[in-house]
C-alpha cells in the first residue's frame, strides 16, 4: 500500500468520519447550545475573535470525543467542560491572567446598557478565570453545583464556598452600581 492509497482510503468521499452523533442530531444540539456557549467563551476570555475560534474547536473536539451520553444535559456539560479546558489552555499559551474585559461590540450598546456592560467587564476582569467561569455557569446558565464542579474539574464539596466567595467578590466590585440588571 502506498502512502497515497492509504491516505485516499481514509479521505475517500464515502468515508464519513466516525462521530458520536449524526448530522441531524448535531444540528439540533448546535442550535440549542452554540449561542450560550459563545456567550460563555466571550465573557470568560474577554475576546470575541477568540470565542469564535474556541467555539468551533469545542464542537470539533466534542464530536471527536465520540462518547455516548445519557442525556442532552450530559452532552451540554461535556461541551462546556471542553470549552473551559480550551480557554484555560489558550490562557496558559498567551500567559495572560485576566482578559482585557471589554468585549468589542457589547460596549457599543447605548446608554445604561453600555455602562452596565462596561462595569461588568471591568469587574469580571478582576476575578480569576475560574471565578468568572463558575459565576457564569451558576448565575447566567443556571447550572447546578454538581454540574459546575464537573465542568470546572473541582471537588463538588468545595464548590459552594468558592462560589460564595466569587459571588461576594463580584457583588463588591459592582457595589454602588445599579445591580438591577434589566434596563
Amino acid at each position: 500500500m502506498t502512502r497515497e492509497t492509504a491516505i485516499n482510503d481514509v479521505r475517500g468521499e464515502d468515508a464519513a468520519a466516525e462521530f458520536a452523533m449524526d448530522e441531524q442530531t448535531f444540528r439540533g444540539f448546535y442550535e440549542r447550545n452554540a449561542r450560550g456557549l459563545w456567550a460563555y467563551l466571550a465573557r470568560t476570555t474577554g475576546d470575541r475573535a477568540l470565542a469564535d475560534d474556541l467555539l468551533q474547536e469545542t464542537f470539533y473536539r466534542f464530536l471527536r470525543a465520540g462518547a455516548a451520553y445519557e442525556s442532552d444535559q450530559h452532552r451540554r456539560n461535556s461541551l462546556y467542560r471542553i470549552a473551559t479546558n480550551l480557554a484555560a489552555d489558550e490562557r496558559r499559551r498567551r500567559a495572560v491572567r485576566a482578559p482585557a474585559g471589554e468585549i468589542e461590540g457589547v460596549a457599543a450598546n447605548s446608554g445604561a446598557a453600555a455602562e452596565r456592560t462596561a462595569d461588568l467587564s471591568r469587574a469580571l476582569a478582576q476575578l480569576k478565570p475560574r471565578e468568572r467561569a463558575m459565576l457564569w455557569m451558576a448565575y447566567a446558565e443556571g447550572a447546578t453545583h454538581r454540574e459546575i464542579a464537573r465542568i470546572l474539574g473541582v471537588e463538588a464539596a468545595s464548590l459552594k464556598p468558592l462560589l460564595f466567595r466569587a459571588r461576594r467578590k463580584l457583588a463588591a466590585l459592582l457595589g454602588g452600581k445599579d445591580l438591577g440588571g434589566k434596563s
Partner: protein
C-alpha cells in the same frame, strides 16, 4: 468559613433566569429578598450576568451548523489520513537514512582521495582501519534523527 445559605436562594435564582425577577416574581419572594442579604446578593449578581448573557447571545455571529459539521468531518478525515500515512513516512525516511549511510560508506571505501586524507591527518590506526564503518555509523547517527525530525514535521 461556612458560607451563609438561604432556602429561598434557588427560588430567587430561578425567577431571575426565567425573567420573572422582580416584576413577575411572587410578592413573598420579593419581600424576602429585600430583607435577606444572601438572596439580595444572588438576585443582584444573577440579574447582571443573565442580562449580559442575553446581550452576548444577540451579538454572536455563529457559523451555520451544517458548515461546522462539514468542517469537522473534513478535519477528522485529514487527521485520520495523517495518522494512516505516518508509518509510511517513517519507513520512507528510514530508507532514505540507510541509503545515505550506504552511499557514504561506498564513497569512503572507494575514494582514494578520502583514504589519502585519512593517512595524512594521522587518524588513530584503529579508526583508520575501520574508517568506512565509522563513516557509515556517523552518517547514520546524524541522518537518522534528522530523518525522524523531518517525518514529524511533515505530519
Amino acid at each position: 468559613m461556612k458560607p451563609p445559605e438561604c432556602q429561598w436562594e434557588s427560588e430567587v435564582l430561578a425567577a431571575v433566569l426565567e425573567s420573572r425577577w422582580p416584576e413577575r416574581a411572587e410578592t413573598e419572594l420579593r419581600e424576602h429578598a429585600a430583607a435577606c442579604p444572601v438572596c439580595a446578593e444572588v438576585a443582584a449578581v444573577a440579574a447582571v450576568l443573565a442580562t449580559d448573557r442575553e446581550d452576548l447571545r444577540s451579538l454572536a455571529a455563529l457559523p451555520d451548523a451544517g458548515r461546522v459539521w462539514w468542517r469537522a468531518q473534513w478535519r477528522a478525515r485529514c487527521e485520520a489520513a495523517a495518522v494512516a500515512g505516518r508509518p509510511i513516512t517513517a519507513a520512507q525516511v528510514l530508507a532514505l537514512a540507510c541509503a545515505a549511510g550506504l552511499t557514504g560508506a561506498c564513497f569512503g571505501a572507494t575514494s582514494e582521495w578520502f583514504q589519502a586524507a585519512l593517512r595524512e591527518f594521522s587518524v588513530p590506526p584503529l579508526l583508520a582501519e575501520h574508517a568506512v564503518l565509522a563513516l557509515a555509523i556517523a552518517a547514520f547517527l546524524v541522518l537518522l534523527p534528522a530523518a525522524v525530525l523531518a517525518a514529524i514535521w511533515r505530519d
